[in-house]
Symmetry: C2
DNA sequence: CTAGTGTGGCTAGCACTGCTAGGGTCGCGT
DNA sequence: ACGCGACCCTAGCAGTGCTAGCCACACTAG
């Protein structure tokens, strides 16, 4: 059985190779440049091979998106853990989210903008893929204020706001600068400073998009 | 000069006919169904005619989007005027926004999701088209709380949140129900009830998407 | 009323897309 | 050694956005 085992291993390797090539090509030249022919050429096979691994092009994009959710969840988790107060945790997670969207726009588009057939949490059941759910859980972990309101609703609104900020700024609907201030305003509203510090941190700097941006 | 005048008139009429046909076709069958051939057939001309009026397909979609902003601005204005307190005005405008996105998904996609070359307010200058700016002004008019914060930033964040709610709910990233509660949460955060009524209105009803929705 | 002119739409076609059918070659198990 | 089966590639299909070149029509000048 070692032969079939090896074959399956190679098949899995190639499966991953296709996903990686699609992501890299998209991040380098945009999703419009990701055609089945170019992708096949990149993995040194002919197009029909792609269809042995995926139902179609959309499925490939979906696979890239699922991997992206892993990355996003990891980035949010990292941000959350390096923060002190809950308020700062929310700010850090929000900034990590916006940085992710800025640093990896093609990947972000695959995850949120492009219409995919990836099944998400249709009814808040747990039949959704693990990766997107994990990313949302990271957000929910820092969104809950515990002041009697519905934490899940708050998390969904915050997520929506972050997504809106990311995509509207990228498409130029809102000026790309001052993202930092917008994030501060969001944090201020959803996690007001109860310690009386009354920090007016924002200022008018507006340097960069939202932060340094990782990877 | 009456002949050339008539020609220009007919030309303008056909220009509008193309835009309307594109919008109707998109609203009926989605943007994927809007091909140059089908669109040309719908207006009873051949494809090259389209290129006498528009630079390409993207320009047609952009024209549809610009008209959509007129509709959106009108809907928001209507909602704002029929509201009493500023707080209720914000809620009404938010609901009108979400209703618009639900009732006319294809049009909304042309305006916000599809990548167009429509020039928006790149640097908050006034060189952006009038229609999108008008829609944003409607939002800004109800977003400014006047408590010392930057009203424009608040408006941008609220707009982002509304857009995020609309698009994430539509794509199934967040459950489609309970949009009403999410809007209430957003309003609560950005326009807290200062009259001490401490209204816990939301409840768990979650009926419908966000409201009745006007065609 | 005729001849000339130019605007403008149409037919045909290009390069490209996602996807599929069929054959042919290789390696494996017996 | 032989037969079998998995597997990959070449070639092609229908449909996409967009363009070149022709031709007919309507209008203007005489």
């Amino acid at each position: 059985m070692s032969s079939t085992e090896r074959r399956e291993r190679e098949r899995a390797r190639r499966h991953q190779l296709i996903i990686t090539a699609a992501r890299e090509l998209a991040e380098a030249e945009g999703w419009d440049a990701v055609t089945t022919r170019r992708l096949a050429q990149r993995v040194a096979y002919s197009q029909p091979v792609l269809y042995n691994h995926f139902k179609g092009k959309d499925a490939i994009v979906g696979a890239v998106a699922v991997e992206g959710f892993d990355d996003l969840a990891a980035a949010l988790r990292r941000a959350r853990r390096t923060a002190g107060s809950p308020r700062e945790a929310l700010r850090a997670v929000g900034r990590a989210y916006l940085d992710f969207a800025v640093a990896r726009p093609a990947l972000y588009a695959a995850m949120f903008v492009r219409e995919t057939d990836v099944p998400f949490a249709q009814e808040a059941q747990q039949d959704s893929p693990a990766a997107p759910r994990a990313a949302f859980e990271e957000l929910a972990a820092v969104a809950g204020p515990g002041d009697g309101r519905d934490a899940e609703v708050d998390a969904e609104v915050i997520w929506s706001a972050l997504h809106g900020l990311a995509v509207l700024a990228r498409s130029g609907r809102i000026p790309q600068r001052r993202q930092r201030e917008r994030l501060d305003a969001l944090v201020e509203r959803f996690a007001p400073d109860t310690a009386g510090r009354r920090k007016a941190s924002a200022g008018q700097d507006g340097s960069g998009t939202a932060g340094a941006g990782g990877a």
